[in-house]
């Protein structure tokens, strides 16, 4: 079992040449075998948290720590963190023409192996075929250039394909449900659920309770104003759906302004 621990994490970003503190002390512990969901209104720092864990240089850690099995992650480069076992399914995956999906996947898989021991073509293709089928993706999509000309739904599916091929210890899914219709959402959920095992943990980030009908979380955390303000089980998401974030904010007597507040 692996453990990802986020301790009192404070993170800022530069906007108009000024530093803005976005995360104001986040504490969270994830174990493999568990499924966590972070919910929260717009602009509350959910994506900041996922990007900071991955190491996006646009986010500046002010204080706090992120460790994987006791090892500091914040001092590691993005690719080192990935090889240590982190995976971030991105909201806006980059497009790269001239590099096919297949080549990219093989490079990613081999990055985790010894230089002299790349995955055999047969094993790689067998795994690829299996996962393509699971996600209702065609062989043709694997041969296309990385995310180039992919629709929003295809990009999300492609993120999950990478997740299935790479098999990390922890996957952070940043709004994997946004822009997906219900059929696509079911396919994506099927992919994530296929990975469920004692050596794999998930952290989902979403606005909407809908995703959690398909990938059922063990824990739901609510984030507001740069902190996790409440943690519960799957029922908490249902409650939020019924009462909205404003209701929870008032119940907790929080002094937080919500972007969508009028």
């Amino acid at each position: 079992m692996s453990t990802l621990v986020i301790k009192d994490l404070k993170v800022s970003v530069t906007e108009n040449e000024q530093e803005h503190l976005i995360l104001k002390g986040v504490n969270l512990t994830l174990h493999t075998g568990e499924t966590h969901a972070i919910m929260g209104p717009n602009g509350t720092g959910k994506s900041t948290l996922s990007e900071t864990i991955m190491g996006n240089p646009a986010y500046h850690v002010v204080s706090g720590s992120v460790t994987l099995d006791g090892k500091d992650l914040l001092s590691q480069t993005v690719d080192q963190r990935a090889r240590a076992g982190l995976f971030l399914a991105m909201q806006y995956p980059a497009e790269i023409k001239g590099v096919t999906n297949v080549e990219f996947l093989r490079a990613a898989v081999n990055a985790r192996r010894d230089k002299d021991d790349p995955i055999s073509v047969t094993d790689f293709l067998a795994d690829l075929d299996h996962n393509l089928e699971l996600l209702n993706m065609t062989d043709e999509m694997a041969e296309r250039y990385l995310n180039e000309g992919f629709s929003g739904g295809e990009k999300k599916r492609n993120e999950i394909l990478q997740l299935l091929m790479i098999k990390p210890k922890f996957a952070i899914l940043d709004e994997i449900d946004s822009g997906l219709d219900i059929d696509a959402l079911q396919v994506v959920a099927k992919g994530v659920n296929a990975l469920k095992n004692p050596d794999f943990g998930t952290l989902m980030i979403t606005h909407y309770q809908r995703l959690l009908n398909y990938i059922v979380p063990d824990y739901v955390h609510v984030m507001m104003g740069g902190r996790i303000v409440k943690t519960g089980d799957a029922d908490l998401a249902n409650k939020l759906e019924a009462e909205g974030y404003a209701g929870l904010r008032d119940e907790l007597h929080l002094d937080v302004s919500l972007t969508d507040d009028e």
Partner: protein, 426 residues
């Protein structure tokens, strides 16, 4: 070299080769012009200190040693030369039966003198254009000659391999000539490379004379060794409705000045020029790519992409010139450079010269750094930085590479680019 020495050497060589009078005269005139004409000027490319003019009078070279390895390199080719020696000419029987001619320039002068005379330094390029064209006319010793008769369509590309023999020091001054008659069609892949590591001065000219409604695709893959100083000149002239596609890859490791000019003389003629270049270490590569619209309704497209590493310099001039009378013409161009080091130098200069009203012209140019978002994405999948960077570069060049017509060419060019980029990491 003194003019008198050059003249004596040139006349002596011409006599040894038993060249026809018109050619001896062309060479003699070229020696005189060489002495007086200025070097060509290319915007932002300063090559005056290069040893391009340190050449000697032409000589009949000794037979080079064709090792087993060198022999193998030419196996798939239709034309293969090593230095001034033609090692192999292999034109498919069907093409020969249709009257296609592929041979070296020496043979062409001997056996197809009228065709050569009508076209050599006569259509696409004048010998008295500048000091470097004059030098080529005076000192050229070999090259390939391709002639495609009217209405002949060659389905398979013709593969040309020309290696500069740098196992010893010798001149490499060559001239290649392609003549396509009306409504013919041909694809040519010319690979220029080096054997050995001695210093070499390379002067290589290609003339393409495209007849009416002929379709020519010319891929040039230049891969000269580090110790070369090269002047590469590729010229095209197009009759009405002719199409010429240039696909040019500058993968050289030495100093290069490249002058790529196409003249759209005929109504409705069209040229597409795609250039890719990788510059690394301390080299300078300067590309001066020009298309001139003379004919009405003619179309010019230039797309150039280059990557600069280390302390290298890469210059892309893109010149679109629409002359008075070229009604309804189009001239479009895009020049983009990617800089991978803070010591790299790059220039992307679009130059549009428009002397007619009812035309369309456009240009785009950029000099930028690696796309950070793409890098982050690849790194987040665990791909180490050098590999990720190479993939991003590939993405950048893909704008041109994926447009290449032949899948085989795309693949071999991608491998070549990978090698050039990998060199750098060692």
């Amino acid at each position: 070299m003194q003019t008198a020495t050059m003249l004596a050497g040139v006349q002596d060589y011409s006599e040894t080769q038993a060249e026809p009078g018109w050619l001896t005269k062309l060479r003699t005139q070229a020696v005189a012009n060489y002495a007086t004409l200025p070097l060509p000027v290319f915007e932002k490319i300063n090559y005056r200190s290069w040893p391009l003019l340190d050449v000697t009078a032409p000589q009949v070279s000794d037979e080079p040693e064709v090792t087993a390895d060198l022999s193998a390199r030419g196996e798939q080719t239709n034309f293969y030369s090593l230095g001034d020696t033609t090692v192999r000419v292999n034109l498919p029987k069907a093409a020969r039966a249709q009257g296609v001619i592929l041979c070296d320039l020496k043979t062409a002068i001997r056996e197809h003198g009228d065709l050569v005379k009508a076209n050599l330094f006569n259509q696409a390029l004048k010998a008295d254009s500048d000091k470097l064209t004059a030098l080529n006319a005076a000192l050229m010793t070999n090259g390939f000659f391709l002639y495609v008769p009217a209405n002949v369509v060659l389905k398979e590309p013709l593969e040309i391999l020309q290696l500069v023999d740098q196992r010893q020091s010798q001149n490499f001054v060559q001239h290649n000539l392609v003549v396509t008659e009306p409504s013919s069609q041909v694809e040519i892949v010319q690979r220029l490379g080096s054997v050995g590591t001695n210093a070499a001065i390379v002067h290589m000219v290609v003339e393409v004379v495209a007849g009416a409604n002929s379709h020519v695709s010319f891929a040039g893959i230049d891969n000269l060794a580090a110790n070369t100083t090269a002047y590469l000149n590729r010229r095209g002239v197009l009759s009405p409705d002719a199409h010429l596609n240039w696909e040019l890859a500058e993968m050289n490791a030495g100093q290069v000045i490249a002058d790529f000019d196409t003249e759209l003389r005929g109504r409705g003629s069209e040229a597409n020029v795609k250039t890719i270049a990788v510059a690394n270490q301390q080299q300078t590569q300067g590309m001066d790519t020009r298309v001139t619209n003379y004919g009405p309704n003619s179309v010019a497209n230039i797309v150039q992409r280059g990557v600069i590493l280390d302390e290298a310099t890469l210059i892309f001039n893109g010149i679109g010139h629409i002359v008075h009378g070229a009604h309804g013409s189009k001239a479009d161009q895009e020049n983009r450079l990617l800089m991978l080091s803070s010591e790299a130098r790059g220039d992307a200069n679009p130059i549009l010269l428009i002397d007619e009203n009812d035309v369309e012209a456009g240009h785009a140019a950029s000099v930028g750094r690696v796309d950070e978002q793409q890098m982050y994405y690849l790194l987040s999948r665990g791909i180490p930085e050098p590999v990720a960077q190479r993939l991003v570069i590939r993405g950048f060049l893909a704008g041109v590479v994926t447009e290449l017509r032949s899948p085989r060419l795309r693949k071999s060019l991608m491998n070549l680019i990978e090698r050039r980029l990998a060199d750098d990491n060692e």
